[in-house]
């Protein structure tokens, strides 16, 4: 977009927001319509598709046998990856992950890890030697803004939907047997993102808002209303008061969103 139009649009969007309104009719703290479908990829151990307005994100999980990290011999391993698939936006390019997809994966990862969402001790088969490794692959299919919340939601929904093979240990070798158990989940982290436009904060920014925002802030909450991860992004800043305001609003929004998950 040319910078003239950007500035005009920014003015218009900011003026509206100053009055507590948004171009698409939402209140400042409204999410767009959310649809969550779980279990849509039968080949995956778990999967979910999230629609946040026109933003579409799929998450799939795979469960494999692997080694624990040396400093956590009794815990299964979580690996989160995010792909900004090039069909999702004219600005996404094929190739190895760039800073945006790496940051996205790491934000999603932190929400799950810091909330202790997965009971990783139950993923241990043989301490120090054999554990289940959970891969969460976030796949952005259409980018219309707020990829962070959509991705975090898809990841939590996919984990909730994840089954693991039963196994037996025969002569020191792990044998997968028929039947499945559910991935043991203790928490259901939810991430809430704000854009700062002018001096206001808006929840769940869509693409047009992201293009004019100064900065964004994302906050993940666990089931007990604790904050478990935060990430500020963008080339602007927040005042300490805005940060406190965001934390309070996000706490309420996270509760509402969590209710949309099936478990």
């Amino acid at each position: 977009m040319s910078s003239v139009i950007t500035r005009l649009k920014q003015k218009q969007i900011a003026q509206l927001i100053e009055k507590g309104k948004r171009l698409d009719g939402r209140e400042l703290t409204d999410y767009r319509e959310i649809t969550i479908e779980q279990g849509i990829i039968e080949r995956a151990e778990g999967s979910a598709r999230v629609l946040l307005g026109k933003t579409e994100v799929m998450a799939g999980t795979k469960v494999e046998l692997g080694k624990p990290f040396p400093d956590t011999p009794n815990d299964g391993v979580l690996t989160v990856n995010a792909e900004l698939v090039p069909l999702a936006s004219p600005t996404f390019e094929p190739g190895p992950p760039g800073e945006n997809s790496i940051e996205l994966a790491r934000i999603v990862d932190r929400g799950i890890r810091e909330s202790k969402a997965i009971d990783t001790e139950k993923l241990c088969i043989e301490p120090g030697k054999k554990v289940f490794v959970i891969f969460v692959d976030v796949y952005v299919l259409n980018h219309d803004g707020n990829l962070i919340d959509a991705s975090a939601l898809a990841a939590t929904a996919a984990l909730l939907n994840t089954k693991m093979s039963k196994y037996q240990i025969e002569e020191g070798e792990v044998k997968l047997t028929s039947g499945y158990t559910q991935l043991p989940m203790k928490k259901h982290p939810i991430t809430v993102t704000f854009a700062k436009i002018g001096n206001k904060l808006v929840v769940d920014p869509w693409l047009e808002e992201e293009q004019v925002m100064d900065a964004r802030i994302s906050m993940a909450f666990d089931d007990d209303d604790n904050i478990c991860a935060i990430q500020k992004g963008g080339n602007g800043y927040f005042t300490p008061e805005q940060i406190q305001e965001a934390a309070k609003t996000a706490k309420e929004k996270a509760k509402q969103l969590r209710k949309k998950l099936d478990w």
Binding site: I40, I41, E42, R43, A44, S47, K54, E56, M58, G60, T61, K62, E64, N81, E83, V85, P86, L87, A88, S89, P90, P94, P96, P97, F135, D137, Y139, L141, N142, H143, D144, L176
Partner: protein, 244 residues
Amino acid sequence: MNDKPEKLIDKKGVRLDGRKPDELRPIKIDVGVLSNADGSAYIEHGKNKILAGAYGPREVHPKHLALQDRMLLRCRYHMAPFSVQERKSPAPSRREVELSKVIRESLEPSIFMEYYPRTALDVFVEVLQADGGTRCASITAAALAVADAGIPMRDIVVACAAGKVEDTIVLDLMDEEDKLGSADVPLALMPNLNAVTLLQMDGILTVEEFEQAVNLAIEGCKKISAIQKETLKAKYVDVKEVEE
């Protein structure tokens, strides 16, 4: 973990999933499913779930790749890590590089490349779930994505495989038939022009069996082509009705 089935096809010519030798798997196609791509399509072909998006004509980056007398067609076939039994690394495998090339070459004959010199048309295919025959289903969807982007085309390419399972030439192999059967012949067709734009084969076939397989694959392509065209018609009729 999968046990090998005893027979891929029984005495009555019934296949593992209940199909007859010349029967297609269920197919469901949608077009215009993504808001950002200039054109898009989604296909479920058996258990394949594949999304295709087209961007173009658009500027070429880096510029020195632009062609002076025609559009540059670029194509990426890519599998989601969760689309297969064992997690696939997201980095492109050699197989994906090859398939990206042959899919591009299967689409290019159908597109009026000379209409948009110095521009690029990018076609992205994402396999969300893989069954046998991903490349053919990818082509069927990608051709629709290009059509949905409004790019002028000679014909809409469609693809289907035939192959040999035990002693029978069969249409449209599913995963187990692909892996345990004796030959697979994926083929893409411009149906109005009777022109084959993709042909590969692996396995063992006599020249006569190969001829049968080609003919059967062409029949399959024609059936899928009808579904493609209905889907397109339905979308544009819908749009027209909405516009009126």
